[in-house]
């Protein structure tokens, strides 16, 4: 705890913002500014990452509550504080953000148009996302949650593909509409408890009737962000049209915001409503896993296929969260990290093909393994991880979720596992179409293998995939305490309700 000490979380959050200010001061011709902006952004994001790693080493895994807490009066008279803190649940999501931002910056070598603004937007996105995961005040959380839209809207709309404007506006309005319902729920909770402090709200009993409505509001906002079926329709457009670095941030980090919201707010704050909604969430999760996997199988574009695979995996995460078991929730958290790293790796791989001047239509690719062995090996690794092969990160998360689900409902577990089989199908179809088969056109015969900058993106991600897969304890023991206390609180909150229900039935 550092009540009065060094405000490390604020420093981590706002360092990229300072970077934005620095970028605004750069002078010179466009090419020079673009190069300097890229280097400066990379340096700042690496520095922030270093601070994040420092945070990790100082984190005390035995404590379940918030650590590195900072709290300053923000809105006087309204009992709203600017307060930050991390616990086992948010720590790795903050780290994931910090780790993937440099990757996204490295992946933006092809951005030459208004490069300074692009890197400023990426750094702004890092600030907003980190702040969102670290906020321990609901209003502050909401501010960051919404503010993420601003840089992302510009990233998709300015630097995206052909249908970028449609995708950007759809993304913005979908998410805005969803999150305004959260605002309503926020105002209700604020009115009810007199504070927006998350810890206090967690210990405020909310009437069961109201819980249902608040849960519905949360489902509208977090469901859109996490792209829960059927609220996912913005996602293929946004992922497909965003530039590669934008897609990486969207798929790897921003999609976690929704799942994090469920885990942080819906489950602990609304125990009876989330227990009541669990069958619905299981159904949505299973539909996502099976239906979206089938949709992914039908895709003809590599980027869109990966995008749909991402939605399918979000289904697994949702199932895990709503099992309310330690295994299920740890599995969901682990899957969030693994999914972030793996999806980022896959999108970087797609970006490599784009940077060779090739399109991403599966019918226009093929035979790359012959010319690009290193690339093929890494793409294969990420593919296997995405399928959940033992030894890779994907396996741990999925097996934990399936075990957790098995404790609750046999069929959910079986159907969720079916998704893994379908996952193998579409990922292998993709790999075959990209790496094997024959050259679909002669231009591919001279394609070059990975360059230094591309190794710099892919090797750390590959190392993370293996680390997560081979030695998961180094991550799970950091969130064991927090998850255990979450599950405990959930069970405890439910039992008086069930006891009361039994009394009234008599």
């Amino acid at each position: 705890m550092n009540v009065a000490g060094f405000p490390i979380l604020s420093v981590i959050t706002y360092l990229p913002l300072l970077g934005v200010a620095y970028l605004a001061l750069l002078r010179g011709d466009e090419v020079a500014v673009a190069r300097q902006a890229r280097h400066a952004a990379l340096a700042i994001s690496l520095l922030t990452l270093a601070l994040g790693v420092d945070l990790w080493t100082k984190f005390d895994p035995t404590q379940a509550g918030y650590q590195f807490v900072e709290s300053v009066a923000w809105f006087p008279g309204l009992n709203i504080k600017y307060s930050l803190g991390v616990d086992g649940i948010s720590l790795f999501l903050v780290l994931l953000t910090l780790a993937l931002t440099p990757i996204a910056i490295l992946a933006s070598a092809s951005i030459t148009k208004r490069a300074r603004s692009f890197f400023a937007a990426l750094l702004l996105l890092e600030t907003m996302t980190t702040g969102m995961f670290a906020a321990t005040d609901f209003l502050l959380f909401y501010v960051f949650f919404e503010a993420v839209l601003l840089p992302m809207y510009l990233i998709i709309g300015v630097w995206g593909g052909e249908k970028r404007i449609y995708a950007a506006v759809k993304f913005f309005l979908f998410t805005l509409a969803g999150s305004l319902f959260m605002l309503l729920a926020l105002v209700w909770l604020w009115h009810d408890a007199g504070t927006t402090d998350i810890v206090t709200l967690l210990h405020t009993a909310i009437p069961a009737q109201a819980q249902i409505w608040i849960f519905a509001a949360f489902l509208a906002s977090f469901g859109v962000k996490a792209a829960v079926w059927p609220l996912h329709t913005w996602l293929p457009d946004a992922y497909g049209e965003a530039p590669i670095p934008g897609t990486i941030m969207l798929a790897a980090v921003l999609s976690k915001m929704g799942a994090y919201g469920f885990l942080r707010f819906a489950v602990p704050m609304l125990p009876s409503a989330s227990a009541a909604a669990a069958p619905l969430m299981f159904a949505l999760g299973v539909v996502a896993v099976i239906y979206i996997s089938l949709v992914a199988l039908a895709q003809t574009d590599m980027k869109r296929l990966i995008a749909y695979s991402s939605v399918a995996h979000m289904g697994v995460i949702i199932i895990g969260i709503f099992t309310f078991t330690v295994e299920g929730i740890e599995g969901a958290l682990f899957q969030m990290l693994s999914h972030g790293v793996v999806i980022a790796g896959l999108f970087v791989c797609a970006g490599v093909i784009l940077s060779r001047g090739e399109g991403l239509a599966l019918s226009r690719l093929g035979g790359l393994a012959a010319r690009m062995p290193a690339y093929a090996a890494l793409l294969m690794l990420f593919t296997l991880a995405n399928m959940g092969l033992p030894g890779t990160s994907g396996f741990i998360g999925e097996i934990l979720v399936i075990v957790g689900a098995m404790k609750v409902n046999f069929w959910v577990s079986v159907l969720g596992a079916a998704g893994m089989v379908l996952g193998c199908a579409y990922m292998l179809v993709m790999v075959r179409a990209v790496l094997f088969d024959k050259f679909s056109h002669p231009g591919l015969a001279h394609i070059a293998d990975l360059k230094l900058g591309e190794y710099a993106m892919l090797l750390p991600l590959a190392a993370l995939v293996l680390w997560l897969g081979v030695y998961p304890t180094s991550f799970t023991h950091m969130f064991d305490a927090s998850v255990a206390s979450l599950v405990q609180a959930h069970t405890a909150a439910l039992s008086p309700h069930s006891a009361l229900a039994m009394v009234t039935q008599k």
Binding site: W74, G77, V143, E146, L154, R164, I165, L173, L184
Partner: protein, 472 residues
């Protein structure tokens, strides 16, 4: 002998304005620069003087100055000064730089200050008319332009109608209660008022709704905004709106405060229609001034939500909303005034295409204002909305709050379109370099709007104190 210190700001404006008028008439040359500078100085001096002015009940109970009136006056002074800074450059480029304009603004502000501080329906009417008459002339400032003349005439005819309704309402209230004094009215009108008084109240309310251009009394707004010179529109969008809203607050909570159950539903309906119409009608606009007109109608709807709540928190919310709105608004008008190509003002939204590539700072500032008006955090506009939603919600007006949230999404659509045009569409606006004053207002507005989140406390506590002063 009453001390005149409480009305020192108003005296400064009145006497200073007449002095400037004399100088302008007697001077041999056109002295627009001098009179603009003098007016800005007078406004800032008035703002400074009002900071230290005491509370008082003056002239036999005709005027009352409190923290509330000083808060509202402050907003009016600052926004009028900003509008004059913007007007200086615009008017000279358009060839309508006359020394009378800043003086008209001074008198309009004087009228606003009087009506905000009014403690009697008669004072209210006098201030209201002084303000309106000065603004009618301002709307027709470009007297050789057909559009400007039309705007002035339209504003005058409809404004006269509203004044007529207002004065008719006042006469009814007087006839049924026997007094026009706010304090006496508040003491008389406890419980449920009779039909005559209520009809009078409704007429008063319609007159005020016309001034803040709340739907369905908004008809004049788009045409006047579009037709009047942009510098005048920038004034219309800020100071008079703030003043009329403050007047609305003080009339509704002062003499008619106990009749809350009788007028609450009317305010709710006004708020709902304004929010919905402001959003829906703005979608199809291609002229940015008309867009701002509909946007202002929508914003007045949100601000009225706080009044509809009828609580101290609601009044505070409306005051916060207005203060934030005024800053966003003059910032956005600074951007519109900066839209000039080859010496000609351009007003189409499509003229902004590609602005982000050529003038990143300009585009960013306008984007900040648009996002703030859409109510996206962390910009200031979000906190204004949050306050009114929370006030309405806490007062039990859940449906109103939900309608407000739904209309926010609709509103966001057209604000986003402006950003889309600037950032995503290809084009080359090739705008002329804008004047220093315009750039200053633009940067100031953007900085306040974007950085409000870091230091919200001063405004919020000032608004809180003002609301407490108003509600007694």
């Amino acid at each position: 002998m009453t001390s005149l210190l409480p009305v020192l700001p108003a005296l400064l404006l009145g006497v200073g304005g007449m002095a400037l008028l004399l100088i302008g008439v007697l001077a041999k040359r056109e002295c627009a620069t001098f009179s603009t500078a003098g007016s800005i100085v007078l406004l800032l001096a008035a703002a400074w003087a009002s900071c230290s002015a005491p509370d008082a009940l003056l002239f036999g109970g005709l005027l009352k100055t409190t923290l509330f009136t000083r808060f509202a006056d402050g907003i009016v002074y600052v926004s009028a000064a900003a509008a004059l800074v913007l007007a200086f450059d615009y008017n000279s480029k358009e060839g309508i730089a006359r020394f009378e304009y800043p003086i008209l603004v001074l008198f309009a502000v004087l009228g606003m200050v009087v009506m905000i501080s009014a403690n009697d329906l008669m004072t209210l009417y006098v201030g209201f008319e002084l303000q309106s008459l000065a603004l009618y002339i301002a709307a027709a400032l470009a007297r050789d332009s057909l559009r400007s003349t039309e705007a002035g005439l339209k504003y005058f005819v409809l404004g006269a109608l509203a004044s007529g309704l207002l004065v008719y309402g006042i006469s009814l209230v007087y006839g049924f209660t026997g007094t026009t004094n706010f304090t006496a009215l508040a003491a008389l009108l406890t419980g449920t008022a009779g039909a005559g008084t209520v009809i009078g109240l409704v007429f008063v309310l319609v007159g005020l709704a016309f001034k803040i251009s709340a739907a369905p009394f908004h008809m004049w707004t788009p045409d006047v905004y579009e037709g009047a010179p942009t510098s005048v529109t920038a004034l219309f969008g800020t100071a008079p709106k703030a003043a009329a809203m403050a007047l609305f607050l003080s009339v509704m909570t002062g003499p008619f405060g106990h009749l809350l159950p009788q007028w609450q539903a009317i305010i709710e309906i006004l708020a709902v229609i304004s929010m919905a119409l402001g959003g829906l009608a703005a979608i199809s606009q291609t002229n940015i001034k008309r867009l701002m007109a509909y946007s202002s109608i929508g914003h007045m709807g949100y601000a009225l939500m706080g009044l509809a709540a009828g609580t101290e928190a609601g009044i505070q919310a409306t005051l916060v909303y207005i203060a934030i709105y005024v800053v966003m608004s003059f910032g956005a008008f600074a951007c519109i005034i900066a839209m000039r190509r080859q010496g000609q003002a351009v007003e189409k939204i499509s003229d902004l295409a590609g602005l982000a590539g050529q003038r990143p700072g300009f585009a960013f500032a306008l984007a900040v204002f648009m996002w703030a008006m859409a109510g996206i955090p962390p910009l200031s506009g979000f906190f204004g909305k949050l306050y009114v939603f929370a006030a309405a919600f806490n007062a039990g007006l859940t449906t109103l709050a939900i309608i407000g949230i739904v209309t926010s999404v609709i509103n966001a659509f057209y604000y986003l379109r402006v950003i889309k045009v600037m950032y995503f569409d290809a084009g080359a606006p090739n705008f002329d370099p804008s004047a220093k004053g315009v750039n200053f207002i633009m940067a100031l507005g953007a900085a306040v709007t974007a950085l409000f989140v870091f230091l919200p406390a001063p405004l919020l506590s000032a608004a809180d104190a003002a609301a407490k002063a108003l509600m007694g």
